[in-house]
């Protein structure tokens, strides 16, 4: 509980600092926090809320798709050295490529709608999950494997009771670490020929010189990142509580 109070205090301190700096500088590009917050709450039931929901949907869909594809593939590659020898080099080669450079290509192929943006997030998260899952499954303690195999735990039961729980912390950490990058990539994608999403909302406010709107959008995007990060952290503590004993 203390951690939540600390976060809340830090958040309030930041808002106060913002308010003080903005009121002393008197710059149109830096409206006070109170002004941004008023717009934020005023716009929340309107365009801001709608665009926020669109972005949230895209991030969650991308996360879901990346998880359901990368986890089984990572488990399979980790426990099947022949397949890993064959496919591993391809993944190692593609992993360091910044996925954002693929934005134009993906938009040409998948259009300007949701599909391209979700696919982009999926791509960013896919490798962040795949490689730790593969390595976790590969480096399972041989002691554990022998002990459990001798109990007759084989096949799917082996994956369910042993491999999957062993790599679950890596899956959730990978998702948590990559969630920030995913939102950054989404912002970029939503600023290109888009009509919806927080990226679009921010770009629109910027072109109108509507600075309080712009900051309301920044607040919404920050809250989206914070909420995702906190949710994944909570999930990790809930599902992997044995790690925190």
């Amino acid at each position: 509980m203390n951690r939540y109070y600390s976060s809340l205090t830090a958040c309030l301190a930041l808002l106060v600092l913002w308010e003080v700096v903005a009121r002393s500088l008197h710059l149109p590009a830096l409206p006070p926090a109170s002004q941004a917050l008023v717009v934020f709450f005023k716009e929340l039931p309107g365009p801001l809320g709608f665009n926020w929901l669109v972005s949230t949907y895209r991030v969650l869909a991308g996360m879901f798709l990346a998880t359901v594809t990368a986890v089984p593939l990572g488990l399979f590659l980790g426990r099947c050295p022949q397949a890993d020898r064959l496919l591993g080099p391809f993944f190692s080669l593609i992993y360091p490529v910044p996925k954002i450079v693929l934005v134009p290509l993906i938009m040409v192929i998948f259009g300007l709608g949701d599909a391209a943006k979700i696919l982009l997030i999926t791509l960013v998260l896919f490798f962040q999950i795949l490689l730790p899952v593969r390595d976790g499954a590969r480096h399972l303690s041989s002691y554990l494997v022998d002990a459990v195999t001798s109990l007759g735990v084989r096949g799917l039961a082996f994956y369910r009771h042993v491999v999957f729980p062993a790599v679950l912390p890596e899956v959730l950490t990978g998702l948590r670490v990559a969630s920030g990058t995913a939102i950054a990539v989404l912002f970029f994608a939503e600023t290109i020929a888009s009509q919806e999403g927080l990226g679009y909302y921010l770009l629109d406010a910027w072109t109108r010189y509507a600075y309080p709107d712009l900051y309301a959008g920044v607040l919404a995007m920050s809250l989206l990142g914070f909420a995702l990060h906190s949710f994944l952290e909570w999930l990790e503590h809930r599902l992997c509580h044995w790690k925190y004993l």
């Binding site: 002691y143 554990l144 022998d146 459990v148 001798s150 735990v153 042993v162 729980p165 062993a166």
Partner: protein, 247 residues
């Protein structure tokens, strides 16, 4: 019950083939407790892995008679850190799809028998080494094994816990009449627990001698004059085998 004839195991390593066992032969009767002892790296654990069916590339003959339920207990327990005591013990039964009432009955019985019932919701990280090993023993015993294989099960425990668990194991053995093959590097443990003690030479392992101790199972055996004589005899034989190897 178990017949091993001319068992040879060779590991392929980057530095070339390494012979672990070079023609090991001995037999273990049904209901007998057999301890296998030898210096580190003599292939004791390999022998156990062959018996457990976890290592299948070997030469020679290994026969385990009848439809045998085998259970293996390892030195470092091999408990799943994400399952609590109850779930770890029940795992082998659940994958065999036993009815829940039967799982409940067997798990409760062995947890109570081994003094673990109160700890059933704790995780391995919250247990001591001795408690972890008790959980590993319970996990093996719920399967009602005919053959219990143990790979240095007490070597990472302190002396008092080790002796207490050795006595618990003897009680279980007398209760269940299962066959036990125990691998150890402790001479006292081998003599205390092994009706039959198979002595292996340094790598590659060969049978140097087989001793029998009919008093095993009697709690006073540890304090019997013959116990110390048996320990001395095995210690001398092990030193001789080591010298022969280096000489």
């Amino acid at each position: 019950m178990i017949l091993i004839e001319n068992l040879k195991v060779t590991y392929r390593t980057a530095a070339g083939p390494v012979e672990a066992l070079a023609g090991v032969s001995f037999a273990v009767e049904r209901g007998e407790s057999c301890a296998v002892i030898g210096p580190s790296g003599c292939g004791k654990s390999t022998l156990l892995y062959v018996l457990a069916g976890l290592k299948q590339d070997f030469e020679g003959k290994v026969e385990v008679a009848g439809r045998t339920q085998i259970a293996l207990i390892l030195q470092h327990f091999g408990l799943l850190p994400w399952k609590n005591v109850w779930e770890n013990v029940a795992l082998g039964l659940k994958v065999r799809r036993l009815p829940p009432q039967e799982v409940e009955r067997r798990v409760s019985f062995w947890l109570k028998n081994l003094g673990l019932y109160e700890l059933r919701y704790l995780y391995p990280a919250q247990l001591s080494g001795g408690q972890c090993q008790r959980v590993a023993i319970a996990r093996a015993l719920v399967l009602q094994p005919d053959l219990l294989l143990m790979d240095e099960p007490f070597s990472s425990l302190d002396a008092l816990t080790r002796e207490a668990l050795q006595e618990t194991l003897l009680e279980i053995w007398q209760e269940t009449r299962c066959t036990i093959v125990l691998v150890t590097h402790s001479i006292e443990e081998a003599v205390f627990l092994g009706q039959k003690v198979v002595l292996l030479s340094p790598r590659p392992g060969r049978v140097v001698a087989v001793y029998t101790h009919p008093l095993v199972g009697d709690k006073s055996w540890r304090h019997h004059p013959d116990f110390h004589l048996a320990c001395t005899r095995i210690r001398q034989e092990l030193s001789r085998a080591g010298e022969a190897k280096t000489g």
